[in-house]
C-alpha cells in the first residue's frame, strides 16, 4: 500500500517536473518579446537625476557678475582639499562680484574630487554647483585641474561666452 502510494507520488512528480520545464521555457520565451533594457551608450544616454553630482560650475548673477565672493568656505568644507581659492578685492573700476572680494584664482583638481557636494552646501551665495556632466575623462593629469575659466558659466551680458569643452551650462 505504501509502495503504491510512493509510486503514484513519483508518477505525479514526473508530470509536475515536465510541466515545470515547460513553465521555465515559457517564461524565458516571453522575455524575448519584451523591449530591450540596454542603453546604447554613447549614442544614447540615460537621464541624470535633478540632484546628480557631476562636474562643477561657478555661477553668475543675471547681470553677469560672478556669484563667488572668495570666502574659501568651499575649500574649507572640501574633505579632500581639492579646491584652491585665492581671493582679491573688488574695486569700483574692476568689479567682478557684488561683494567686497572675488575669487582671483579658483581651481578644482578633478582627480582628487570625490563629488560629495559639500562645497555646494557650504557656499553662502550658491556660487559653486555640481552639474549633470559625468564624462570627464582626459589624457593628462594637468588637464584635470579645472581653472576658473573652465568652471565659470558663460556671461549672459557678453555675447562671447567663456567656455571650454562641449559642456552645456546648468540651466
Amino acid at each position: 500500500m505504501a509502495e503504491e502510494r510512493e509510486s503514484r507520488r513519483r508518477r505525479q512528480n514526473v508530470v509536475q517536473d515536465v510541466a515545470a520545464l515547460a513553465t521555465g521555457l515559457k517564461t524565458t520565451l516571453s522575455e524575448v518579446f519584451k523591449p530591450l533594457v540596454t542603453v546604447q551608450y554613447p549614442e544614447e544616454k540615460s537621464t541624470r537625476s535633478e540632484r546628480y553630482r557631476g562636474r562643477h560650475y561657478l555661477r553668475r548673477y543675471d547681470n553677469g557678475l560672478e556669484r563667488c565672493i572668495g570666502c574659501e568656505l568651499c575649500a574649507a568644507a572640501c574633505p579632500v582639499g581639492c579646491i584652491l581659492v585665492i581671493a582679491a578685492e573688488n574695486t569700483d573700476e574692476h568689479r567682478v562680484s557684488p561683494g567686497e572680494r572675488h575669487a582671483k584664482v579658483y581651481e578644482i583638481n578633478m582627480l582628487r574630487c570625490i563629488f560629495c557636494g559639500y562645497c555646494e552646501d557650504a557656499c553662502p551665495v550658491q556660487a559653486i554647483v555640481l552639474g549633470p556632466e559625468y564624462e570627464l575623462s582626459n589624457v593628462s593629469r594637468e588637464q584635470f585641474v579645472y581653472t576658473k575659466e573652465m568652471l565659470l558659466e558663460p556671461n549672459p551680458a557678453q555675447q562671447d561666452p567663456i567656455r571650454v569643452g562641449q559642456e552645456e551650462p546648468r540651466r
Binding site: L21, G24, L25, T27, T28, L29, E31, V32, K34, P35, L36, V37, T38, Q40
Partner: protein, 345 residues
C-alpha cells in the same frame, strides 16, 4: 532495400573524372558553407541569448553585428600561440585537430537538397548515419586528450567528465534512432529523410516524428548532452572547472574546439531535421533546401532557448538521467517499435 549505388543526377557520378571533380568541389563548398554557418550560429546564439536576457547582443561590427565573428576570428588568429609548461606536445596539438576534423567529417554524408530535388554532395553511404555516429564519438577523444595533455587538473577533470558523459549519452542517442532505422529499413540518410508510406488511401512521404515520437524526445535530449551544451555542459563548467578541457587552449587551437562545438550543434540539428522531419526531401516542395535550412535554424534556436532557460545538472543527476531514464526508455522504445512493426506487417 539497401542500395549500394547512389542515385545519379545527370550521369556525373558514373563518369570517373566528373565524379572526382564534383566530389572535390563539393568538399570545398561544404567546408566553406559549414564554416560560415558555424560563425553565424555563434552570432545567432549571442544575439538570441541577448534577446532572452533583454539585451541586444553584438550589434557594433557591421549591420546587426553580423561581422562580429570576422572581428573575433582575426583577434583569435593573431593571438600568441601559447602552450603551458609540461604539456604533451603531440597530443596537445592533436586534440583540437581531431575535434575540428571529426566535426567536418560528419558533413560528408549529410544530404543537402538542392532546388532540382533531393541529391547528395560528397558521399551517399548506405551506412551514412553510422559514419556520423562514429565521427561524432571522436569528440570524446578530442576532449579527453585535450584535457589530459594540458597538464592542468581542471582540464583533466573536464576531460574525464566529458568522456563519461559522451559514453553515457551515446548509448541513448544510438538506441533512440534504432526505431527510425527499423521503420525506414535503411541506414542511408537520404532514404530515411525521403521515407514514404502507402497507407490505404494515403500514399506519400511522412515525417518520422509521427511514427517515432519518443525517439525524437530521447534524441533531442541526448544530442544536447552529446554536444556538451547547457544544461549538460559539465565538461566546461566554468564556475567550477575554470574552462574545463579548454582551460589551457588559446588562439587558433581554442578556435578549433569552439568551431567543433558549433559545427556539431549544426550537425545534430541537421540530423534531427533529416531523421524526424523529412530533411530536404523533394516531397517538401521545390524549396527543399530552404525548408531544410529553416528546420536547422529552428533546432539551433531550441538549443539557445534551452541554454537561456535551464541551469546545469549536477553530475549525479546527469548520470542518473542518462543511465536510469534515457537508456531504459530508448530500449523500451526499440522493443515496442519492433513489436508494432511485426504486428503491422
Amino acid at each position: 532495400m539497401i542500395r549500394l549505388t547512389p542515385p545519379d543526377p545527370g550521369g556525373l557520378y558514373t563518369n570517373a573524372v566528373g565524379h572526382w571533380i564534383i566530389v572535390v568541389a563539393a568538399m570545398v563548398a561544404v567546408i566553406f558553407v559549414i564554416l560560415t554557418a558555424a560563425a553565424y550560429t555563434v552570432w545567432f546564439e549571442r544575439v538570441g541569448l541577448g534577446r532572452f536576457q533583454r539585451r541586444p547582443g553584438p550589434n557594433r561590427v557591421g549591420p546587426f553585428g553580423l561581422m562580429q565573428l570576422a572581428a573575433d576570428g582575426v583577434k583569435l588568429a593573431t593571438k600568441e600561440s601559447f602552450a603551458p609548461r609540461g604539456v604533451d606536445p603531440v597530443l596537445y596539438v592533436l586534440a583540437p585537430a581531431i575535434m575540428v576534423v571529426a566535426a567536418f567529417l560528419a558533413w560528408s554524408v549529410i544530404p543537402i537538397g538542392l532546388s532540382s530535388g533531393f541529391t547528395y554532395w560528397i558521399a551517399n553511404l548506405n551506412i551514412g548515419i553510422l559514419l556520423v555516429f562514429a565521427v561524432s564519438s571522436m569528440n570524446a577523444y578530442a576532449i579527453l586528450l585535450g584535457g589530459w595533455s594540458s597538464n592542468n587538473k581542471y582540464s583533466l577533470l573536464g576531460g574525464l567528465r566529458a568522456a563519461a558523459q559522451l559514453i553515457s549519452y551515446e548509448m541513448a542517442l544510438g538506441l533512440s534512432l534504432v526505431p527510425v532505422f527499423m521503420i525506414a529499413g535503411s541506414l542511408r540518410l537520404s532514404d530515411i529523410a525521403s521515407y514514404s508510406v502507402h497507407w490505404g488511401f494515403y500514399s506519400g512521404p511522412v515525417p518520422l516524428i509521427l511514427l517515432a515520437p519518443l525517439s525524437f524526445v530521447i534524441y533531442l535530449v541526448s544530442a544536447v548532452a552529446e554536444t556538451n551544451r547547457t544544461p549538460f555542459d559539465l565538461p566546461e563548467a566554468e564556475q567550477e572547472l575554470v574552462g574545463g578541457y579548454l582551460t589551457e587552449y588559446s588562439g587558433l587551437k581554442f578556435v578549433c574546439f569552439y568551431l567543433g562545438e558549433y559545427v556539431n550543434m549544426i550537425t545534430v540539428s541537421a540530423l534531427a531535421s533529416l531523421l524526424f522531419f523529412a530533411g530536404a526531401s523533394p516531397a517538401v516542395g521545390p524549396f527543399a533546401w530552404l525548408a531544410f535550412f529553416v528546420k536547422i535554424v529552428f533546432f539551433l534556436f531550441l538549443y539557445i532557448w534551452l541554454r537561456a532557460t535551464f541551469p546545469r545538472l549536477r553530475y549525479d543527476q546527469l548520470m542518473r538521467l542518462g543511465w536510469k531514464v534515457m537508456l531504459p526508455l530508448a530500449l523500451l522504445n526499440v522493443v515496442v517499435t519492433a513489436v508494432v512493426l511485426v504486428a503491422v506487417q
